[in-house]
Subunit: 220 residues, 2 copies
DNA sequence: ACAAAAGTGTTAACTTTACACCCATGT
DNA sequence: ACATGGGTGTAAAGTTAACACTTTTGT
C-alpha cells in the first residue's frame, strides 16, 4: 500500500439539545494553535483500530462527559486545505440529547465547553461553520421525526414549547390553534395532568406516549 | 502523527440511470480475489493529494469512460472488517446520468461493467449490498427533485414513463389520471408536439422547461 | 386591574383520492 | 376487429390555512 493512499480521518459531532425553548449546539473552545480561542465542534482523530462509533463515543464520554448516545451520519468534509497543517478528512455526525440529564464536564479538560443557540453562533475555527450549517440543515429534515423529538424532550413539555422549537428550526411561524390541532392529532403525546407555573396562564404538560404504535410524524 | 491515525479511505459510487422505464445502477465485476467474480460498485482508493471529487471523477472517467458528472454524498461505511484484508473506510456517493448519451467503456479494463435493475441485483461483494441499499434509499428521497429528474431525462420523455419510474423507485402504484394532473400542475414540463410510436396509442412526448423558475418538486 | 401567555372552534380554500370510458396505434 | 397502452373529468373526502376571543396566572 503506497504511503499516499493513507489519510488522516477525524470524526466531528454536532450535538443538539433543547434549553428554554431554544435548540442549542455544543461547541468547545480551542486552547492552542491553529485557531486558538476559536470555537469548534467536538472532534477526534480516528484511530484505525477503532470503529467510527468508538471514536464518537470517545468524544462524548471522555471529552465532554456525556454518556452513551446515538449518532447519525451527516456529511463528509475533505478539502485539501481544511486543516492548515495537514490533510484531514472529516466525517460529520449529529446527535440529539436531553440537556436536563446532562452535566457538562467543565473541569480537567483542555477545552472550554458551552451550548450555543443555532441562530447565534460564534466565529468558528477551520471549516466548522460549513459543518454546523450542514448539521442544521439535517436537523431541519429530522425535527419531524418522533425519535428526534423524544431525545430532545424525554420528559414533560408543553405545546407552546414544541411550537417554538419548530419555529426556530424551520425559521417560520405557525398558527397556535392549527399547530396544536395537528400535533395532537398525531396521537403521539398524552396529557400528564400537570401544568407549568410562572407568568401568564399555565400551560398543560404533555409527554410522549411509551408505545409509539403509529409511524406518524409531524409532517411528510 | 502516529501511524495508527492513518487510514485507507476509498470513494464508492452508485451511478443511476434510466433505461426503458427502469432505474438501473452501474456495477463492475471483480476479476481478482477477494470476491473474485462478484459484482461491486465502482470505487477507488483515495490518494491523499486528491480531493474526493478528483477520485470520483477518476473512477467515472478512467474506469468507466463517462464524462464529467456531479456527485452527492450518501453515507460512510467503516466497519473494521468490511474488507477482509485491511481496514478501509468507504465514502459512498450517488450520481444520476442519462444512459442514451453514454457508451460504457467495455474494453481495456480489468472489469466487466453493466447496468442492473435496482430491484433485481446480483450478489454483491464486500458490504456493497448495504451501500447499494443506502444509495437506493437516498434515491427514494431524491427522485422528487427536479435536478435529479432532468439528469435522468435530459431529453424527451412520456408521462407514463415518468410514472413507471416513480412506481419502481417508491414501490407503489399511482392512479394515471391523478399522477398526470399533479405532475403537469408543477409546471415543469412542456409538450414537444411529438409522440412515441410502437404498439398502443402513442404517448405525448414532453421535455423539462429550460427555465425552472419555480422551486416546485413533485412532492414534499 | 392589568399584563402575559395559553387554550379553544369554525369556515373556506386547497389537495388528494377514487373511479370508468374513449382514443390512437399495430397486428 | 381486436389487443395494447395512453388520454381524459368529476365529485367526495381529507387536509391545511385563516381568523379572534376567552381563560388563568403573577404582579
Amino acid at each position: 500500500m503506497k504511503e499516499e493512499y493513507k489519510n488522516i480521518v477525524e470524526s466531528v459531532i454536532g450535538i443538539f439539545t433543547e434549553v428554554d425553548s431554544k435548540i442549542k449546539i455544543l461547541l468547545v473552545r480551542k486552547k492552542d494553535e491553529p485557531y486558538k480561542n476559536y470555537w469548534v465542534l467536538p472532534s477526534a482523530i480516528l484511530n484505525n483500530n477503532d470503529t467510527i462509533e468508538d471514536s464518537l463515543n470517545d468524544i462524548v464520554i471522555n471529552q465532554i462527559g456525556l454518556s452513551d448516545i446515538s449518532f447519525e451520519h451527516d456529511n463528509v468534509f475533505g478539502s485539501l486545505d481544511r486543516d492548515p497543517d495537514k490533510r484531514v478528512i472529516a466525517l460529520s455526525y449529529i446527535s440529539f440529547i436531553d440537556s436536563v440529564s446532562v452535566e457538562l464536564k467543565k473541569v480537567d479538560t483542555d477545552y472550554e465547553i458551552d451550548w450555543f443557540d443555532i441562530d447565534s453562533l460564534p466565529r468558528l475555527g477551520y471549516d466548522h461553520e460549513s459543518i454546523v450549517l450542514s448539521a442544521i440543515n439535517r436537523l431541519k429534515k429530522r425535527i419531524y421525526d418522533i425519535d428526534v423529538l423524544t431525545k430532545l424532550f424525554p420528559s414533560d413539555f408543553t405545546l407552546p414549547e414544541i411550537q417554538r422549537i419548530y419555529e426556530q428550526v424551520l425559521e417560520t411561524k405557525f398558527d397556535r390553534r392549527n399547530f396544536r390541532k395537528k400535533f395532537i392529532a398525531l396521537n403521539l403525546i398524552e396529557d400528564t395532568g400537570y401544568v407549568t407555573d410562572g407568568v401568564g396562564r399555565p400551560a398543560k404538560l404533555y409527554r410522549f406516549k411509551d408505545d409509539i404504535s403509529d409511524g406518524d410524524d409531524y409532517n411528510e
